[in-house]
């Protein structure tokens, strides 16, 4: 662990921990039509860790998740997930490798009830949670099961969006700003869920702007700016790096 201080100065370097790297993004470039939005992004996600991509609006965090899922086709570089190269692969094939995606806008289907939303994503691997387990994790969802998905409160929709990918057996989750616009009590609840998922072996990539929240759940943070990873800060060193962080995240 003494190595970590020097690790933080080499963004994207392989971690010193023994945990194997589950997801490795190297020199990722992405384009929206003519505009170049990711400029050589690199970072590693060790298996079983919660890793955040921290950065301002427009830094490229969401774009990065979309590249991983293959939803943004114009991408170059390398994205390896448990050894498989994802660049050039279609989104549905990528998902079937065991990735669960929870988009920023949550993506709850309006034409379906909460329960239909929960049951929608197909099982892609063994070992997913049962509906009962998900309801135990999110008791609110059970009460709202028959309501139209988009009639749920923001917090409930977020829980539904997370719960939905826990049924599928995906063991690596990409969560795009799950706490955005939610009340503190709900944010805490979602934080608890993330900690419980980590404890049961999930690997999680969390896109966040709220580093207070990020610091309560994550093992390490990658600071994203202008489509690049500027720095890696282990969670233990977060407070020592507060000034730097403020600078990066200041609006």
């Amino acid at each position: 662990m003494t190595l970590e201080a020097s690790e933080s100065e080499r963004p994207g370097a392989h971690p010193a921990d023994s945990a194997p790297v589950e997801l490795s993004v190297q020199d990722l470039h992405a384009y929206y039509g003519e505009s170049h939005v990711l400029h050589g992004m690199s970072f590693d996600v060790p298996r079983g860790e919660v890793v955040t991509l921290l950065g301002r609006n427009g830094a490229g965090k969401t774009t990065c998740l979309k590249c991983i899922m293959g939803l943004l086709r114009q991408r170059k570089g390398s994205i390896r997930f448990s050894g498989t190269e994802l660049i050039g692969m279609q989104p549905h094939r990528i998902a079937r490798l065991g990735l669960g995606f929870c988009p920023e806008e949550r993506g709850i289907y309006a034409s379906m009830t909460a329960e239909e939303n929960l049951l929608l994503p197909p099982k892609i691997q063994e070992g997913g949670m049962s509906v009962e387990e998900i309801y135990r994790l999110f008791p609110n969802l059970k009460e709202r099961a028959k309501s139209q998905g988009t009639k749920l409160s923001g917090g409930e929709q977020q829980m539904l969006a997370i719960g939905r990918i826990l049924r599928t057996g995906a063991k690596t989750l990409l969560l795009d700003e799950p706490t955005e616009g939610l009340a503190p009590v709900i944010v805490r609840q979602i934080g608890d869920i993330i900690k419980r998922l980590r404890a049961s072996g999930y690997t999680i990539v969390l896109v966040e702007q709220n580093f207070q929240f990020a610091s309560t759940v994550a093992d390490r943070h990658y600071i994203v700016e202008d489509g690049k990873v500027m720095e890696m800060i282990p969670n233990a060193d977060l407070h020592a790096n507060m000034d730097k962080l403020r600078e990066y995240l200041a609006v």
Partner: protein, 295 residues
């Protein structure tokens, strides 16, 4: 009796009601396919009428050249036309999804002209007769009217197929993917569903429904290269009235307008060809999203 009051004999009224129901069944099947295709592909399928005509023609060709009778044709012809449709989707339509609706409309309109033109070149403009299958010839006397068996059969089959498709979409797992794909295909694909393949199959299903309608229509109308052209204009009006993108709306509006047409033929025959368009104009003025459409 209300019939006597209006000076219309009940036989005529019920006869027209039945005729209306048959037309309505065709409208329902065709507009259901159109709604399915529009929901998933974002394309207004102007080739729908031509594919309906192809259904009738393929069925006639199977009978004439290969001696394959009506019953196997009922499955075989829609399957053949659906495969043809899926090839069109893969090679042409799929290139247009990221563009405005207008491009899909133009392409499918062009395809309709080409398909209809090809059949006109091969078979001319005279209609061909498709005999009613032996077992469904004749009719049943219901006391108040004479019910031709084949026409009753058409209405029953159309209703079953419509209900089947509706059940498939609303109540099955694959149907839930279809609904989700209509709403947010990108996320659905990120859940692991092969959305491009699903789009192709949806087009195949919509086209298959059109062709099935053609097979059913063949013994009633003449098999004619332009039979789809006349049909499709009314069906588009039906779709506008029902609201694009609603399955149930397509089915109910189709049947309803068929019946309205039938009644108009009894009470004011001069308007029977235009009544659908008058209703369309009124709906567009009062409820532009259609009777079942969502804002």
């Amino acid at each position: 009796m209300i019939f006597d009051l209006l000076g219309v004999p009940p036989q005529a009224l019920l006869g027209q009601l039945l005729l209306g129901l048959i037309n309505g069944s065709f409208y329902a099947l065709l507009s259901l396919g159109l709604a399915l295709i529009f929901g998933m592909l974002n394309i207004i399928n102007f080739a729908h009428g031509a594919l309906y005509m192809m259904g009738a023609f393929v069925s006639w060709m199977l009978l004439t050249y290969l001696g394959i009778p009506f019953w196997p044709s009922l499955i075989l012809a829609p399957l053949i036309v659906a495969l043809f449709g899926m090839a069109l989707e893969r090679t042409m339509l799929s290139k247009l999804y990221h563009l405005d609706h207008l491009y899909g409309l133009l392409l499918t309109f062009g395809l309709a002209l080409i398909i209809e033109g090809a059949f006109r070149t091969m078979y001319g403009v005279s209609g061909r007769v498709y005999p009613i299958p032996e077992i469904l010839r004749g009719g049943t006397n219901l006391g108040f009217m004479f019910l031709p068996n084949y026409r009753a059969f058409v209405v029953v089959v159309a209703l079953f197929v419509c209900l089947g498709v509706w059940f498939f979409i609303e109540r099955t797992r694959i149907g839930s993917y279809l609904r989700a794909g209509t709403e947010n295909p990108e996320l659905l694909q990120a859940f692991g569903i092969n959305v491009p393949r699903m789009i192709t199959l949806t087009y195949g299903l919509g086209v298959g429904l059109a062709a099935l309608t053609g097979v059913l229509a063949a013994p009633i109308y003449q098999v004619h290269p332009l039979m789809g052209f006349h049909m499709i204009i009314v069906v588009f009006a039906v779709v506008v009235i029902g609201g694009l993108g609603s399955m149930l709306g397509a089915i109910v509006t189709g049947l309803l307008l068929g019946v309205v047409e039938g009644f108009t033929r009894v009470f004011y025959p001069e308007a029977s060809a235009t009544v659908v368009f008058i209703i369309m104009a009124i709906v567009l003025l009062l409820r532009p999203q259609g009777l079942f459409g969502k804002r």
